[in-house]
């Protein structure tokens, strides 16, 4: 049997692929954070709670209205995104002119309230969301058994990541957006409704978190604390990639998935800290992050 660093080659490839799958998932979540921070300079600590809301929205749509996964994939992000719009319009907008730390505290408080409310309603044990029929089962790749649903997660995450990058960096709308956040007075003078753009951008970032939640619902237990652990990891990914860099968030997400996946093989005890270790090293060597534009 071929061995790679003391691990059978087949197992090694399997873990590499799994790392990539988790990485795609991290990329999707950190993308939302990076969009919100990069364009609005809001440190969105409610991102984990909004991800959880996405999963719960899908679960509740199925349980109460019988709405299936495919519809929920679109509907849940819209519902949760609309909730984000309300948050931006009535809470975040009031504090845009003061220090960013207030935005962080506000969204952190919101996250605690949302999570606490859901804990009270649903308990912490979580609920199961079935894998949609078309995506059940798996493929034997020879070196591993790949559940079809995991492959689906990667596909969706990569497509969405590319689309968002294209929208923001390459289209006229994205140009307005970037210009609006750079110099909003000037843009308003040109007749662009910047406050509306800002509100919609926040709603869009929240919708991305919710989309992550819907994708995660069939593979993890849908529970109120599902976002709180993930949030910190995803923040670390954004910091490593460079705060606000969209390409940075996507590529770092994929890389960190692989780093974490390999740690789970060679020294599983460290798997929950390895990303933070990388973060510390990156901050020491390159404080603006791997893809950051410098301070």
């Amino acid at each position: 049997m071929t061995m790679i660093f003391g691990v059978p080659a087949a197992a090694f490839y399997g873990q590499l692929l799994l790392g990539l799958i988790n990485g795609a998932f991290y990329a999707l979540l950190s993308l939302g954070l990076a969009v919100i921070f990069g364009l609005l300079k809001i440190i969105n600590f409610a991102h984990g709670a909004q991800y959880m809301l996405g999963a719960f929205a899908a679960y509740l749509l199925l349980e109460t209205l019988g709405i299936n996964y495919w519809v929920a994939l679109f509907l849940a992000p819209i519902i949760v995104g609309a909730f984000g719009v309300v948050i931006e319009r009535f809470l975040l907008r009031r504090i845009t002119h003061i220090d960013h730390i207030y935005g962080l505290l506000l969204t952190f408080g919101l996250a605690l309230v949302i999570q606490g409310t859901f804990t009270n309603w649903f308990g912490v044990s979580g609920s199961r969301y079935p894998v949609p029929e078309a995506l059940q089962g798996g493929i034997n790749l020879g070196f591993m058994y790949l559940p079809i649903y995991r492959a689906w997660i990667v596909a969706v995450a990569l497509v969405v990541c590319f689309a968002v990058w294209f929208l923001i960096e390459k289209t006229k709308l994205g140009g307005y957006l970037r210009a609006g956040t750079e110099n909003s007075a000037l843009m308003q003078a040109f007749g662009v409704n910047v406050p509306l753009l800002v509100t919609l951008t926040y709603g869009f970032g929240v919708g991305l978190a919710a989309l992550g939640g819907v994708l995660a619902a069939p593979v993890y237990s849908v529970s109120p604390d599902m976002g709180s652990n993930l949030l910190i990891v995803v923040f670390a990914v954004v910091v490593i990639g460079g705060m606000g860099s969209i390409v940075g968030a996507i590529l770092t997400g994929l890389m960190m998935g692989i780093v974490e996946g390999l740690t789970k093989v060679y020294y599983p005890e460290a798997s929950s800290v390895v990303i933070f270790l990388v973060m510390i090293i990156v901050l020491l060597v390159r404080p603006s992050g791997l893809f950051g534009k410098g301070t």
């Binding site: 197992a11 044990s125 199961r128 237990s221 604390d225 599983p268 005890e269």
Partner: protein
């Protein structure tokens, strides 16, 4: 103001009388009131298996007892330990010193129980440990102030692991939570598997509260072991089982053995995902007529079926209150002596007894999760495969490291 004065005068006069009667036989209910503190995880990972519904079980016991003991009122206060031994020990210290709490109930995370009972040791306050798993609580960490009621890691390993090995699961791959409880359970399992002729072929230790178990399940799969043993708890176990299903471990002929699984976890998984899993439990709501009758009353109040921890809280509170009533004292040493002298026969246990190390010995049950076809409703989840007699289930006193065992 006048009312205050009257109340104060009444208190002084009654305490004088109290003093007279109490000193006559040396026993009394201190502060003219029995105070019970409920300390548990009210908001985190272990909320559902104990948490607010555990407090409800405690209140049910007090109501069923009549609301008073020796004519004195019973009051309950509760706190969230946040699964932190530091929070727990400072709460317990405050309860003992300022609030004069006589008994502390709940006690869920093993680390919380060990820290809390250390504070109680040497005081007059009694601890009833119900949520915790670590068998060390009545072994090296035993104190004369507490009793461990519902279950511990010793019978979990004994029941499930020996049953699985007997069915031909000789080689094991362990997925262990990397902290005290997981290590304890893993070593208990290793002992049982090896003494029954099986072997541990590999394992991973994962951090507490891991979201993604796919890497570990893939490692378990490529190890080729007959059995994947889960020495973790709560959300970690639930996610492990979901991922094992997703990666088709069962189809490939591997058995998943969850060593600690609560009814609330199985309910979260549902019969579809959890079917066929074997587990060891201290109690099941549908195990007999008494259990069912109590579980029905619990359901009416909470909308959920009780876990073994909820039942243990009710049962131990009841036995404690009987002890206070019988001895006329709320001193830990008096009540514990009474509790050890009297057998437990209730909805929780038949012929249960408290040993000198503080272990309440009672029958444990090896259960199997029903298939969706067998399960008649969302809480109809277990069939009892075997009753493990108490003396066989728990660690024998001859192996005890507890200083109270002579």
């Amino acid at each position: 103001m006048k009312m205050m004065k009257t109340a104060l005068a009444t208190a002084i006069v009654s305490s004088l009388f109290m003093g007279v009667t109490a000193h006559a036989d040396g026993h009394e209910i201190s502060d003219n009131e029995l105070r019970i503190g409920y300390l548990a995880d009210m908001s985190g990972t272990y909320r559902d298996l104990a948490g607010p519904n555990g407090e409800e079980a405690l209140k049910m016991a007090i109501e069923d007892f009549g609301g008073k003991v020796k004519g004195k009122n019973i009051t309950v206060m509760s706190a969230d330990d946040r699964n932190s031994p530091d929070v727990a020990s400072s709460t317990v210290r405050e309860w003992i010193e300022s609030d004069k709490v006589d008994m502390i109930q709940g006690l869920v995370a093993s680390s919380v129980s060990i820290a809390s009972t250390k504070v109680m040791n040497g005081t007059d306050t009694m601890g009833l440990v119900n949520g915790s798993a670590a068998s060390s609580i009545t072994n090296e960490h035993c104190t004369p102030n507490h009793i461990h009621w519902t279950y511990d890691t010793y019978p979990l390993a004994n029941g499930t692991a020996s049953a699985v090995v007997a069915e031909g699961g000789k080689s094991w791959f362990m997925v262990t939570a990397d902290y005290a409880f997981g290590h304890a359970l893993e070593s208990d399992v290793t002992r049982v598997v090896e003494s029954n002729g099986g072997e541990i072929v590999g394992g991973v230790r994962h951090p507490l509260s891991t979201d993604d178990f796919s890497s570990y399940m893939l490692q378990a799969q490529s190890s080729g072991a007959d059995v994947v043993g889960l020495a973790n708890a709560g959300g970690d176990t639930v996610n492990s089982i979901i991922t094992a299903g997703e990666f088709g471990l069962a189809q490939a002929g591997q058995t998943v053995a969850a060593l600690l699984l609560f009814l609330t976890d199985v309910h979260a998984l549902g019969a579809e995902t959890a079917q066929g899993i074997q587990l060891t439990t201290g109690w099941y709501w549908d195990k007999d007529k008494d259990a069912r009758a109590w579980a029905d009353r619990f359901y009416d109040r909470t909308g959920a079926r009780p876990s073994m921890v909820h039942a243990g809280i009710y049962s131990s509170t009841m036995h404690y209150l009987k002890g206070v009533e019988a001895t006329g004292s709320d001193k830990a040493s008096d009540v514990r002596a009474w509790m050890a002298d009297n057998e437990i026969n209730d909805m929780f246990a038949k012929g249960g007894y408290v040993r000198e190390d503080g272990r309440m010995v009672h029958d444990m049950y090896l259960a199997e999760v029903k298939t969706p076809a067998e399960s008649e409703n969302e809480w109809d989840l277990y069939k009892i495969v075997r009753t493990i007699p108490g003396d066989e289930a728990f660690r024998p006193l001859s192996q005890s490291k507890c200083s109270l065992v002579k």
